[in-house]
């Protein structure tokens, strides 16, 4: 069965679909704001433009996902994006870290983009047609993101002692939280309804299976696959760093929530 509108699903599936869309939208939204912080201070001017452009893409993806979410559950996309308390955001804990140094931001984006690509693969033939159509567009833009992040992973891994040790430290710190990208979502009803092609545990196995040869080629440590992510992968507990970012990106909206844009 395919559905053009979410009303064609039962209530539990609809709630799970809303949960999935909010999680994905918040992931893209928060990553977009963190990475936009490199504008003006990336390693070279050209990378300033490139990284800011990637960040801008993510905000665009978030906008499309928030719109789809409000088609499922009603409401206003801007209000969902900017009008919530920090505890109500559902992004993965991977995105609670600040930008830190360049290797850290590259490692975070590499882990996120590869996990997100595995997630998008499982949504490409979604029974919820508006989502399948959106995912087709997202995947085309993510192709370039993946190329760019693979290029940077290679350069940092082969770039001498300091870049390599910073990259290794970042990966080690981020691994447990990276696994949250494919967790914290009620996936059973979504798989049953054909919205999601396979359980998130299977998506995660596919993600890690794809990463292994890449990391091996770069001589970087593989993550431990035994420890499941701890509880609270998608809130409500939030880091002080995220609360600071939230203050920044909601500042204008909070100054006058009723303003017309």
């Amino acid at each position: 069965m395919t559905a053009q509108t979410a009303e064609q699903f039962d209530q539990r599936t609809r709630a799970a679909l809303a949960g999935l869309l909010l999680a994905m939208a918040d992931d893209e939204f928060v990553l977009g704001f963190w990475d936009s912080e490199w504008t003006g201070i990336a390693p070279v001017l050209e990378e300033d433009v490139a990284f800011a452009s990637l960040a801008q893409d993510e905000i665009g993806h978030a906008q499309a996902l928030y719109r789809l979410l409000t088609e499922v559950q009603g409401g206003d996309p801007d209000k969902v994006a900017f009008g919530r308390a920090p505890e109500a955001y559902r992004h993965a804990r991977l995105l609670d870290h600040p930008r830190t140094d360049w290797a850290f931001s590259v490692a975070r984006r590499f882990l996120y983009d590869t996990a997100d690509a595995a997630r998008l693969d499982a949504l490409a033939a979604s029974a919820y047609r508006p989502l399948a159509e959106l995912v087709a567009k997202l995947r085309r833009e993510e192709t370039y993101h993946l190329l760019h992040m693979h290029a940077w992973m290679e350069r940092l891994a082969d770039g001498g002692e300091e870049p390599r040790s910073r990259l290794e430290a970042a990966l080690e710190r981020l691994w447990p939280d990276a696994r949250c990208v494919l967790a914290g979502i009620d996936d059973a009803p979504l798989v049953a309804a054909g919205v999601l092609a396979e359980p998130l545990a299977a998506v995660e196995r596919r993600w890690l299976g794809g990463l292994a040869p890449v990391l091996e080629r770069l001589g970087l440590p593989l993550p431990s696959t035994t420890a499941p992510p701890a509880a609270g992968c998608r809130g409500p507990e939030r880091s002080d760093d995220f609360r600071w970012l939230w203050e920044q990106f909601t500042m204008v909206y909070r100054s006058d929530p009723e303003a017309a844009w």
Binding site: E46, V49, S53, A151
Partner: protein, 120 residues
């Protein structure tokens, strides 16, 4: 870091035109940056990214700006003569296409050519 020159094609069938240049550590990142600078707003359908070092630079005035009159190497003289003959043939055939004659006056090549004929 090295300089790369970027050429872009705006639409299918159009010429590759110089877009600008950028700095990159290697050809792969140069391609990414070229995409960001000259393609991220869907303004190009094709890019060429060329290391500046691969460009043969030629600006010798003896080769490019020789001192003698070169007007006989320009196609305008030939074109002027052909157009004059064509106008004569048209006149012999019965003066058709007055509107066409007006349109030709808007063509700077034709207009200057005619002037040349009058002066000659």
């Amino acid at each position: 870091m090295q300089v790369f020159e970027v050429f872009r094609r705006e639409r299918e069938g159009g010429p590759m035109q110089h877009a600008g240049n950028l700095l990159a550590p290697d050809p792969e990142l140069a391609a990414h940056y070229a995409r960001e600078f000259y393609g991220r707003r869907q303004e190009s359908v094709r890019l060429w990214i060329v290391p500046r070092a691969a460009i043969r630079d030629l600006d010798d005035p003896d080769l490019l700006q020789p001192p003698f009159d070169r007007s006989f190497k320009k196609p305008a003289g030939y074109s002027t003569e052909i157009k004059r003959k064509l106008a004569e043939a048209r006149a012999r055939a019965g003066g058709e296409g007055g509107a066409g004659g007006d349109a030709e006056d808007d063509d700077p090549v034709v207009a200057s050519g005619r002037k040349g004929v009058e002066q000659g």
